[in-house]
Symmetry: C2
Subunit: 391 residues, 2 copies
């Protein structure tokens, strides 16, 4: 696995980061453009809270973990200046999207806007020591905890009491966010939160019979035989398992590492497309038709998160199966998502056959986040366990 260290590090520092540094900065109004075509040209100037928060995080993380380059700190700050000024409504909840100049376009109906804002400001305050930014991260985090049992509030379309389901995404993200904000939280808060989200993910959403995690379950964790209840998102499961492994390492819990890895393997096998390779986006756990028309597409984040999970699994357990899966995923991902022609950021959306379906590097949901984070996580993980190269 050692050979991948340089490959991932070079791609991050020579292709991905320069692409975003060159093309995404709105030096005029602040914030980041994320709607960038294959060559990095801006095709839309709207700004999306998820992607603003995530890019603030990415550049702060690079400054903190890779190299203390002033340029990277300034880029993180550019997004933060926009979001401090325009991001929140009068309750402190984060709008979903904005015009170029920061007028709100879409109301704060989506709690993940808040999660990624907390993530971004949490990382930024680590490198700029700003109390204001620490307050933004912490107050946002507290609002997420307040809102988490009713995250959509008045925008909830479900009729109360008929089929109340809870969704896997929020506990999954809280696994990661709780560690990212560790420097801002007191130990007892974080310990009890971690225990709670571990319980949610590994006992409530996890289904022992299939070995998989469902996207939506009844409040008691039981199965709902409905479109929402049957849907499996293999990429979500696989990504969550590296968050869980990070928590397991922190808790020094080998059993938890092994369990997370076992679930990740099950999800990889369940999601793998034996006909055209790659990981399918959605499948029905009972094999029924799904409601997501894009079910058979291959998405960038699914594949790069799987690379991280296998790299971490390998680093912690030395299980050879991780290396085998890593290589298989690496071959597919680098061949199909990477843009050999234009370089820079990778494509995000492939059809089932692995052909580019949306010829863009970013948009409403894809920005400067999964690929740089994954490239960093892979090389950093492998570096930590690397043997001196055998010549």
């Amino acid at each position: 696995m050692n050979k991948y260290i340089d490959i991932y590090k070079n791609e991050l520092l020579n292709e991905i980061v320069p692409f975003w540094s060159k093309n995404s900065l709105d030096k005029d109004a602040g914030g980041y453009f994320t709607c960038l075509d294959a060559k990095g040209n801006i095709y839309d100037t709207d700004k999306f809270a998820w992607l603003q928060g995530r890019q603030i995080w990415t550049y702060a993380m690079l400054f903190d973990k890779v190299e203390a380059k002033q340029e990277w700190k300034d880029i993180s700050e550019l997004g933060a200046s926009f979001m401090r000024k325009h991001g929140r409504d009068e309750n402190g909840d984060w709008y979903f999207s904005f015009t170029k100049r920061g007028k709100p376009l879409v109301q704060p109906y989506n709690i993940f806007s808040d999660c990624f804002a907390a993530l971004g400001f949490g990382a930024l305050c680590k490198i700029n020591n700003s109390n204001e930014d620490a307050d933004i991260a912490l107050s946002t985090f507290n609002r997420i905890l307040e809102r988490r049992n009713n995250p959509k509030g008045k925008y909830t379309k479900g009729f109360p009491g008929t089929r109340d389901l809870k969704n896997f995404s929020l506990p999954m993200i809280l696994c990661n966010l709780s560690l990212e904000l560790e420097h801002l939280l007191d130990k007892s808060t974080i310990d009890s939160l971690i225990d709670e989200v571990l319980h949610e993910v590994m006992s409530v959403f996890y289904q022992p019979q299939s070995g998989l995690i469902l996207e939506n379950v009844h409040h008691d964790g039981s199965f709902s035989d409905s479109f929402e209840g049957r849907v499996v998102n293999p990429g979500h499961i696989i990504e969550a398992m590296w968050f869980i492994m990070d928590l397991a390492v922190r808790k020094n819990d080998t059993e938890l590492v092994n369990k997370a890895l076992e679930i990740a393997f099950t999800a990889l096998e369940f999601g793998w497309d034996n006909q055209y390779e790659g990981i399918l986006y959605f499948k029905d756990i009972k094999g029924h038709p799904v409601q997501q028309l894009e079910w058979d597409q291959k998405l960038w984040w699914v594949h790069v998160e799987a690379l991280v999970t296998m790299a971490k699994g390998y680093a912690i357990t030395q299980n050879e199966k991780c290396a085998v899966w890593f290589e298989k995923l690496h071959d597919y991902t680098w061949k199909n998502f990477r843009d050999a022609e234009n370089g820079g950021e990778w494509y995000g959306y492939l059809n089932r056959r692995g052909e580019v379906s949306i010829p863009a590097k970013g948009g409403k949901w894809k920005g400067c986040f999964h690929i740089p984070r994954a490239l960093y996580q892979v090389y950093n993980t492998l570096e930590q366990v690397a043997e001196p190269a055998k010549i």
Copy 2:
């Protein structure tokens, strides 16, 4: 074109209608199952207001227009009994979906639930002469008119005042609904409504420069350079043009027929996939990446509605270009959507290459509506202008 009359009529009466009559009826709780797999097996028992209303309409229309079979009237009644009992909230607005036994699952956030309920009860009251059903249709129609400037009400996520767009779907459906409810409305109401929706469709949403109709425009009809503003749904345009042609015939307005047909040709040419044939689901008017991941799929309703538009265009104008397009669409549609193996209803969702992507005959959005309506419309239209067959 005469040869298509028997082909379309046979398919309707020997394949499509028997499929729904056999597989979709919930004789236990009332209403219709629409989640039916390739062989007609029920894979989910939830019920969806759009599809309940539409199937009530289809069977009432068959009774009214094709043959006064008691079975068809009973089937229309089966859906109506469910919807009368469970369909509405205390304001008379229609829930979006229900459990098998009629408990509401999703709130009345979607005004098209109301449109299709009005359509269904409007057709049923024509054949059962029920004042109650006429009242349901009429009061629903009046609520739609009341709600139409703010159709999503409290579920609206757009921030007011930043980029207020209006959507093409509602005026488009009102074109059709106003004619379908003509027997319930007084002449001055319907005449002024028709003039209003014609203005909306042909002057506000229609863009002279491209010759296309946009899905979303500013309130003054001007272009919004955003994901929502740039998106073109060729199938929507083509379907709307047969609604417009029906209105034009009613108004005896030849110029309007020609204009509608010209727009339909432009949309067909814009939407046609020169690489793999068929009509693409979404395209950006400026050629930018779209946000809809399913943009390159081929959908059943798009193709059968295009067949209706070309059949009507041919019948009214005898323009040979309609016949050429009809044959091209017929060949693609029958080859790819029709299920030669199992028979019955056709498939709904193909990938760009024309392969079945969702192996189901119905689901949350596809029921007993577009295919039977289109088959009926095509053969009935061609019958009306048919020359005696040349032997």
